[in-house]
C-alpha cells in the first residue's frame, strides 16, 4: 500500500523544536511519508505544502500558548484552497495556562480540527489516531 502523507510543523511564532523533531522521527518510523515544515509555520505554508504533496493530513503543533490565535481560520483557508475535508489535528500546549481539557477541546473542534490533543500526548497515541482516521490497518 502507498504510504500516507502528512504535513507537520509548529504554527505561528512558536520555536519549540524538540517535540517536532521527535514527531518527525516517530511518524517516519511508523511508516508515514512526512513533510516536516519545522517551527514557525504560517497557515499558508501548511496549506501550500499539503497541496503540493497531496497530503492526507495536517498535524499542527503549538506549544507556546498562542495556539488559539494562530489556529483561527485554518479550516476555512483549507476549504478555500481546495483542501476541503483534509484531516486536521492539533496538539501540544495549545492554550495559555492549565485549562480544563474538555473546554479547550470544544473550542478547537469548533474551529474545525478533527482531533485535539492535550499536553504531553505520546507519539504512539497520535499514530494510532492517524491510522484509524486514515484507514491504515497494520
Amino acid at each position: 500500500m502507498e504510504k500516507k502523507k502528512i504535513v507537520i510543523g509548529v504554527i505561528g511564532a512558536d520555536v519549540h523544536a524538540v517535540g517536532n523533531k521527535i514527531l518527525y522521527h516517530a511518524f517516519t518510523e511508523a511508516g508515514f511519508d512526512v513533510i516536516n515544515l519545522g517551527v514557525m509555520v504560517s497557515q499558508e505554508e501548511y496549506i501550500n505544502a499539503a497541496i503540493e504533496s497531496n497530503a492526507d493530513a495536517i498535524v499542527v503543533s503549538s506549544l507556546y500558548g498562542h495556539g488559539e490565535l494562530d489556529c483561527r481560520g485554518l479550516r476555512e483557508k483549507c476549504d478555500e484552497s481546495g483542501l476541503r475535508g483534509i484531516l486536521l489535528y492539533v496538539g501540544g500546549n495549545i492554550v495559555v495556562g492549565k485549562q480544563p481539557f474538555e473546554e479547550v477541546e470544544k473550542r478547537f473542534k469548533a474551529m474545525g480540527f478533527d482531533r485535539v490533543f492535550g499536553p504531553g500526548t505520546p507519539p504512539e497515541t497520535t499514530i494510532a489516531a492517524l491510522k484509524e482516521d486514515l484507514g491504515i490497518t497494520d
Partner: protein, 481 residues
Amino acid sequence: MDLRNRKIDKDVFMASRAEVLSQWPTGKRVDLEEAVAFHKSLPEHKIFSSKLIQAKKAKKTLIQPRAGVPLLQDHIKLLTYLQDQGEADLLPTTIDSYTRQNRYQEAQIGIEESIRQSKSMLNGFPAVNHGVDACRSIIDSLNVPVQVRHGTPDARLLAEICCAGGFTSFEGGGISYNIPYAKNVSLEVTIRDWQYVDRLAGLYEEMGVSINREPFGPLTGTLVPPCISHAVAIIESLLAAEQGVKNISVGYGQCGNLIQDVAAIRSLEELTEEYLKKYGYDDVVVTTVLHQWMGGFPQDEAKAFGVISWGSVAGALAQATKIIVKTPHEAMGIPTMEANAEGLRCTKQVISMLADQPLNNAQVAAEMEIIKAETKCILDKCFELGEGDIAVGTVAAFQTGVLDIPFAPSRYNAGKLLPARDNEGAIRILTPGNVPLSKELLDFNTAKIQERARQEKRAASFQMVIDDVYAIGKGRLVGRP
C-alpha cells in the same frame, strides 16, 4: 555588512537609534537623559546590579521567577504577588512571543482579545506596545529589581523602551536569543543587533546607571552539554563587555547530575572571569545563574516539585548567585500566580536549608577541569576562525559546526552534535559533529557513554537521545530502556 567585535562609534549608534525608535509609535517617547534621571531616582534595592553584587559577596543565592501577562494591571498584580507571596528576591517581566518576533501588530490584537475575553491571550507582557510609562509603573509598584526576559532576536526597540522604562536588567544575546529562538535569522544580523543593545547598556553605564546583562544560558534547554552553553555565554560576555557592559550574569541550565551541575556553575564563573580579564575587560562583575531543569517536565505537580527542588539543590550547593525557578504547572502551561509562587517558596525552603553547606570535593574539581578544557577547545577554535575577532569567529563557528546547539530550530545551526547522558546522568557528547574537542576529551566522552551503553545492554544511538529527552518528564534522569 562588516561585523567586528569593536565598540560601536557613538555617532554611528545615535544615527541608527532614530530608525530603531521609529519602528513602533511608542518609540518616540524614549529620551535617554530623562531615562537616566529616572534610573538615578531609584533606591538601591530596586537595582539589579547592586543586589547581585551584594549576593555574590555574601555567597547568597537569590531566586527569580518567570512571569508575564498581557495587561498592565494584571501584570503588576502578578509581580506583586510573586514578591509578597513568593518571596522572590528578583522579578522578571517575560515578554510575549509576538513582541519577540517584532510582530507588534499581532501583539496589539492579543492585548485587545485579552481585554475582550477577560483572559490572557498572549504568553507574556508586550512591553513595546505598552510603552515607557507603563514600564515605569511596574518598577514603581515593586520593591525588588525587575528584569526583562524574552527571547527576541532583534531586541533593539524592546531594549530602548525597557531601559527607558526603568528595568535594570535585560536578558539575551546575539547567539542565545537567536539559535534557540529563531529559524531564519542570520547570526551576523543578531550579533550586530545585540551589539546595539549592549552599546545602549554601555551608554547607560557611562552615564552612571548600571544595567545588568544576562546571556540566556540554557539555550534549547534540552540536553545541552555544559561546554556548549559555556562557550556561548563567554562569547556573549566578551561581546557585551566590548560595548561597555560592566555587570554580567552568565547562566546555565541544570543538567541533573549534581557533580556536573555544581562543576558547571563554578567553572562558568571562573572561565568567564578568566576570558574577560584575558581580553582586557578588568572591571566587569560576573555573577552566575542556575536555571532549574529547562527540558520537559513531569505533568504531575508533586513530581514537578521534586524536579524544582533538585534544581534548587544544585543551585544552592554550587552557590549560584541566582536561580531561575520553574513551577509545578511547567508541563501544562503558563502557571497561575499561585503555582508560580509555590515554585518560588519550595525553592526558597531548599536553598535556605542548604545555604550553609556548599559542595566542594575532588569529583567536582575533576569535572570542572573537564568542562573548562572542553570549553577552551571550542573558544580557541572560534578565536582562530575569526583571526582573533570573536564576533567574526562566532559566525564562522556556527557555519562550520564548531559551535553546535542540540535541538535548535535555527537553520544557521549545524545540528550535527548529539548529546546523551552517561551512566551517572551527566550530559556527554555522543556524536561531536564538528565540535573541536581534543582527542583525549572525545575519548573521555565516548568512554562515559559506552559505560552506560554496556550497562543498558544496547548500542548508543539516537534512540538513547530520545529516551533522555523524555526521561525527566517520565520520572527518571537517565532514559533507560
